[in-house]
Amino acid sequence: MELLEYAIVGGILYGVFFSLVGIGLNLIFGVMRIINLAHGQFIVLGGYVAWLVSRHFGFNPLWSIPLSVAGAIVVGWPLYAAVVPRLQRSDDPEMLSFILFFGIGQMIEALTGMAFGADQRSLPSEALGSGNIGVLGQQFPDSWWIAAAVSVSCILALYGYFSHTRLGYATRAIMADRDEALATGISVDRVSAIAFVAGLALAGIAGMFVPYLLGSVSPDLGGELTTTSFAIVIIGSLGNPLGTVIGGLVFGLGTMLMQTYYSSWSNVVPYALLLIIVLIRPSGLLGKEARHA
């Protein structure tokens, strides 16, 4: 019973954080039908920003959050302009973006490797409070709670953007039907660029907590983070950013339960979940029925 409670509380915290890990990938896909296969590498970049901020300059790693947002704008805006409109004019944007962003991911991985070396980097645990917070008698480090709190804040902010701002309405309109949104005069390009930058910023913010929740950050972590994000996003249904929360929780609980009871098999969880979900229900748990003309 102790163990089960531990796994459930931990799984929820872990899962909430992983919703944040996946949500940027889903936002970009939902708005642009572009698969950002470099997603995991952008998360890793966020992790290194946090590492620089805290180990190199001695500030609290939370300062990396605004830095990641700024970095997402500086990198994301020109990247969007350079590749996304071009991809969307092609015959098969989904597959081509998949391959192209795979290339970008490899470049980022190579560059982070050159800049920071191949070693695993961790962050000072006391920076986010060295204590534990207990729920139902289960103790988890402060950093886990902060990660979950930041994740919930980001998701709520995204939800608020969607439901309370003009740009958010426009974003949802594009997700529902791009052509119709174009026809009604929505500035699809501008809204898409914002969503693209936001997707990268969310990845960067998630990256800050990777050293805490996964123990460390290293250049080669990107691929695994991308596939995990993909699994989470597909569980919650591709193109539905808020479904990602469900995906994150399923993944978090699944991983924690496996780690508790069959720890040597826990690394199979995201891949097995992904396979099962795509084969049973390719549109994800929350997906709509396939539309027909």
Binding site: M95, F98, L100, G103, V268, L274
Partner: protein, 311 residues
């Protein structure tokens, strides 16, 4: 004018096979590093095998390495436990990969990126199962397998050459046969192809099994050549990644594109990639971006654009 005589159809394929055979038989005498040539052949096989599926059906298997690893392990386990001749064990490795592809057949119902990611997930699961310490009694777990009893670098070199010729022959068949024409039609428009009377599901499955077979055979011969290996050596995603990059670089859907792509880039890799892998990773990452944006048909499309027919 289309000339349908058999000889005319067979000629380009036969030429490619003859050049490959002559090249890889002569090269060891001119260039001493046979193990590097062996690895080059392995990558040509994998690039061509991936091209069979991606180039002719449009399904890009990120987890292609899973079949390679599957073949390596099945071959080694047969060597250890079945006491069959090595070549029979290699054939068993190919068969194991085909069986794995049959089990994973439902993945073909998925399209585009879903298929790519799902195949990657499948190969990762296979890797985690094989390398799991709980199964160390059977698979060696993280410590891998040793079959040094059958170690034979020259014989395995020739065996890989045979697999290379088989794979290239298959690509030539796909390129010039009616079956290949049906594949091209399916790739462009599956609905229309079905309405033309083509059994799209069955033909796609056949290509999937064939491409798994060559990867399995290559894995078997590779294990034989190494004779001692860790699970990582035959399941690392790097192998899939290389095959994809090499194929895209040369030009998919052709016979010589993957051969050229793998030969050029693997040579580059062996020159700079082994000592400083990050530079090579940066180069091929940039290459992918540039190819997708400017040259989606690979370097061979530089010729086709000028009206030169490429086999």
């Amino acid at each position: 004018m289309p000339d349908d005589s058999l000889l005319h159809k067979l000629r380009p394929g036969a030429l490619v096979l003859a050049l490959l055979a002559a090249g890889f038989l002569l090269l060891p005498h001119m260039y001493g590093n046979q193990s590097l040539l062996f690895t080059l052949m392995t990558f040509i096989v994998l690039t061509q095998g991936l091209n069979l599926l991606y180039g002719f059906t449009g399904y890009l298997p990120f987890g292609y390495v899973g079949f390679f690893g599957c073949g390596a392990y099945a071959t080694s386990l047969l060597v250890l436990h079945a006491h069959l001749p090595v070549l029979a064990c290699v054939a068993g490795g190919g068969l194991a990969a085909v069986l794995m592809a049959l089990v994973l057949g439902p993945l073909l119902r998925l399209s585009g990126a879903y298929f790519s990611i799902a195949s990657l997930a499948a190969s990762q699961i296979l890797y985690f199962v094989v390398s799991n310490t709980n199964l160390a009694d059977i698979t060696g777990g993280p410590y891998g397998l040793k079959i040094e009893r059958v170690f034979a670098p020259d014989a395995s070199y020739l065996a890989m050459l045979a697999v290379l010729l088989l794979t290239s022959g298959l690509a030539a068949y796909f390129r010039s046969s009616r079956f290949g024409m049906e594949l091209r039609a399916m790739k462009q428009d599956p609905t229309s192809a079905a309405m033309a009377g083509i059994d799209v599901v069955r033909e796609r499955l056949i290509v999937w099994l064939v491409s798994a077979l060559v990867a399995g055979l290559a894995g078997g011969v590779y294990a034989w050549n190494l004779s001692v290996f860790y699970p990582d050596a035959v399941f690392t995603l790097q192998i899939s990644v290389f095959a994809i990059v090499f194929a895209l670089f040369g030009g998919v859907g052709t016979v010589i594109g993957p051969i050229v792509g793998a030969a050029v880039l693997y040579t580059l890799y062996s020159a700079i990639g082994i000592s400083s892998p990050q530079y090579f990773q940066l180069i091929y990452g940039a290459l992918i971006v540039l190819l997708v944006l400017f040259l989606p048909g690979g370097i061979l499309s530089l010729f086709t654009r000028r009206g030169i027919r490429v086999f």
